[in-house]
């Protein structure tokens, strides 16, 4: 069974290779290559999970080249890496298939092969971000991910998407240049680039008190760079434009997968490079906690203020990312497991919301303001059902996936003094605000028609793939909500590995 240890590297190289293959294609057949790639790498990630669950250590390191760690390059796979990659692959595949007819509409025909190329490259970079054991490799694949995800946005025919892409690109570039400076500061004071050696060196430096100031600055730069790229609170301005204007598959991939990929890399850096103790000692987590809470409130308030349903969902993304950072900032293991589950719940829900909203707005000729969407549920029942599932999940109704992280967050909140009260109050306010804006849209789309506009009825047989996919996504969401225990125990085991194994 040792050949399974090759699979992480095969996943990365295969997706890079398939991007090159897609470049040779002339027509839109290229997207079948993407489907094949995503299914194949999903199977590979799943087998890596099972291999690690059955093996004794639950963890392996794979050499990239002929030389061992400090000399050569390597990748590593525990339990969290393949499981998150599997999640990303499933979400990407579903949102790609579900939005395929929107891609045909929104993207010029000659350029549809680029969509497949960019999806493959995004997948390659996410796989590398998950598995990498070297900080500079991480930076390189952040760059690939930046360009590829930005191109997904640029492919839309609307000029508005280009403006949003420019803004997204600039924020991403700011973020990646901060990360680069942080990495280089780290390299200059430790002399290493690989995670295990960096961890050792940082631990020694921190305990001896040598280079403490540069170390703190470097950690701050890396964390803030990745936070900008994933859309933490003060830097969430690019989110509504970006997610609101792209074609639904692209917004699903961008919000559900790409920003989570950066967060996962941040998590990996916190545990495998900085070290759990040093991270708690450096007090960066208080900042993360504070910004997370601000993000939850501000994102929700902005979502209430807007009149465009896509923008509303995008602002709610900002709020949900606030939850994740709040969990990271609390710093206890239980809170981090809750944040991990929040990543899962959000990645499963957001693409579904974007897809079903596009299904609803198709009935009124692509308009996205609330006035037009009034009573559109009656014209596209399947999209309405999955939209309701997504909205309820975001609000945090039991049996949906979104309920579990809220439960875990409130359970983990106790025993931290002021932070307990802050967190509980923030959770309560944010839930109330969530209820406000999601229930409003739900009532709006189901209520009887008030304004007379031309409507088109969309039935199952018009868009069979879309309908099957959105229903499947709702089912997956409910499944994750009902059978959450195995996932939580998997995350707990994975987190233990992250903290303990070097």
């Amino acid at each position: 069974m040792d050949f399974i240890m090759n699979l992480p590297f095969v996943t990365i190289v295969l997706s890079l290779f398939s991007a090159v293959i897609c470049f040779a294609f002339k027509d839109k057949k290229a997207r079948f290559v993407s489907y094949f790639l995503l299914i194949a790498s999903g199977i590979m990630s799943a087998s890596v999970i099972f291999y690690n669950l059955s093996s004794e250590s639950g963890y392996f390191v794979y050499r990239m080249g002929h030389y061992d760690a400090p000399i050569g390059n390597e990748i590593s796979a525990g339990l969290l890496e393949p499981s998150f990659l599997l999640l990303f692959e499933v979400v990407m595949l579903l949102s790609l298939m579900g939005g395929s007819h929107h891609i045909m509409r929104d993207v010029e025909e000659a350029k549809q092969k680029y969509f497949a190329i960019m999806v493959n490259l995004t997948h390659a970079s996410l796989a590398a971000l998950c598995y990498t054991n070297d900080i500079f490799t991480g930076y390189v694949f952040i760059e690939v991910c930046t360009i590829a995800s930005c191109s997904l946005l640029m492919l839309s025919k609307r000029i508005r998407a280009l403006v949003a892409a420019t803004r997204y690109m600039i924020f991403s570039l700011i973020g990646s240049s901060l990360v680069l400076v942080g990495i280089i500061l780290l390299y200059s004071i430790t002399g290493h680039l690989l995670f295990p050696q960096l961890y050792e060196a940082i631990g020694t430096l921190w305990s001896t008190g040598e280079y403490t100031f540069p170390l703190t600055i470097a950690l701050g730069l890396i964390v803030s760079g990745l936070a900008i790229k994933s859309g933490m609170f003060p830097f969430h301005f690019w989110m509504p434009d970006t997610y609101g204007t792209a074609t639904p598959s692209a917004s699903g991939i961008l919000s559900g997968v790409v920003s989570k990929g950066y967060i996962f890399l941040l998590l990996k850096i916190i545990f495998r490079v900085i070290g759990y103790e040093v991270f708690l000692d450096s007090n960066i987590h208080y900042l993360l906690f504070l910004f997370g809470i601000c993000g939850m409130i501000v994102g929700s308030v902005s979502a209430i203020k807007t009149n465009n349903i896509n923008f509303m969902i995008a602002y709610s993304s900002a709020a949900q990312i606030g939850y994740i950072y709040m969990g990271l900032g609390l710093g206890t293991k239980a809170a981090i497991v809750a944040a991990l589950f929040q990543i899962v719940a959000h990645s499963l829900t957001k693409p579904m919301l974007f897809l079903s909203v596009s299904g609803l707005s198709d009935t009124v000729d692509g308009r996205q303001d609330f006035a037009a969407l009034n009573s559109s549920a009656h014209n596209n029942k399947i999209a309405a059902v999955s939209y309701s599932a997504g909205a309820l999940s975001m609000v945090g109704i039991p049996i949906f996936a979104g309920f579990i992280p809220k439960l875990l967050f409130s359970a983990s909140a106790f025993g931290h003094g002021v932070r307990t009260y802050l967190m509980l109050i923030a959770l309560a306010i944010s839930t109330i605000l969530n209820v406000l804006y999601f229930l409003r849209t739900l009532i709006n789309i189901y209520s009887p028609e008030k304004v007379q506009i031309t409507r088109k009825t969309i039935r199952f047989k018009d868009v069979p793939v879309f309908s099957v996919i959105v229903l499947l996504m709702s089912a997956v969401n409910i499944l994750a909500g009902l059978r959450s225990q195995p996932i939580i125990s998997l995350f707990e085991k994975g987190l233990e590995l992250f903290i303990n194994i070097r």
Binding site: E143, I147, L162, T166, L173, I174, S177, L180, I184
Partner: protein, 125 residues
């Protein structure tokens, strides 16, 4: 004073600050791209200066005979920078391509104005 000896690093950090300010605060998209390039070169200068050791040789070793590692400077920063330079040109090309498309539509390089016009158009729709 460490700063007087570390003058290369100080220069690179000043360059980084100038470039970063251009990247963040400049309204003109062309200046943003130039700022991005300055940021990159500043960071690379910092990295290269950290690898430099006084009185040592370029890391190209003789083809035969013993090699004494301590006679040569550190090759790692050079390798990292080498790949980085080529990558930063691809970033600026991408941003320039975006500029061309945006300018053709809005006839201005000012990003704030582009956002504003874009928003107005949206309201009209």
């Amino acid at each position: 004073m460490n700063l007087l000896i570390n003058y290369e690093a100080v220069t690179s950090m000043v360059l980084f600050a100038i470039g970063f300010t251009m990247l963040v605060f400049s309204r003109n998209i062309m200046k943003k791209i130039l700022g991005l390039n300055i940021v990159d070169t500043g960071v690379y200068l910092f990295l290269a200066s950290m690898g430099y050791i006084e009185g040592k040789l370029t890391p190209i070793v003789p083809a035969t005979g013993e090699v004494n590692a301590l006679d040569y400077i550190n090759p790692i920063p050079q390798g990292l920078v080498l790949t980085g330079i080529v990558v930063s040109v691809s970033f600026s090309a991408l941003m320039l391509a975006l500029t061309v498309r945006l300018y053709k539509k809005y006839r201005t390089l000012n990003l704030d104005k582009i956002y504003e016009m874009c928003r107005k158009e949206d309201e009209q729709e």
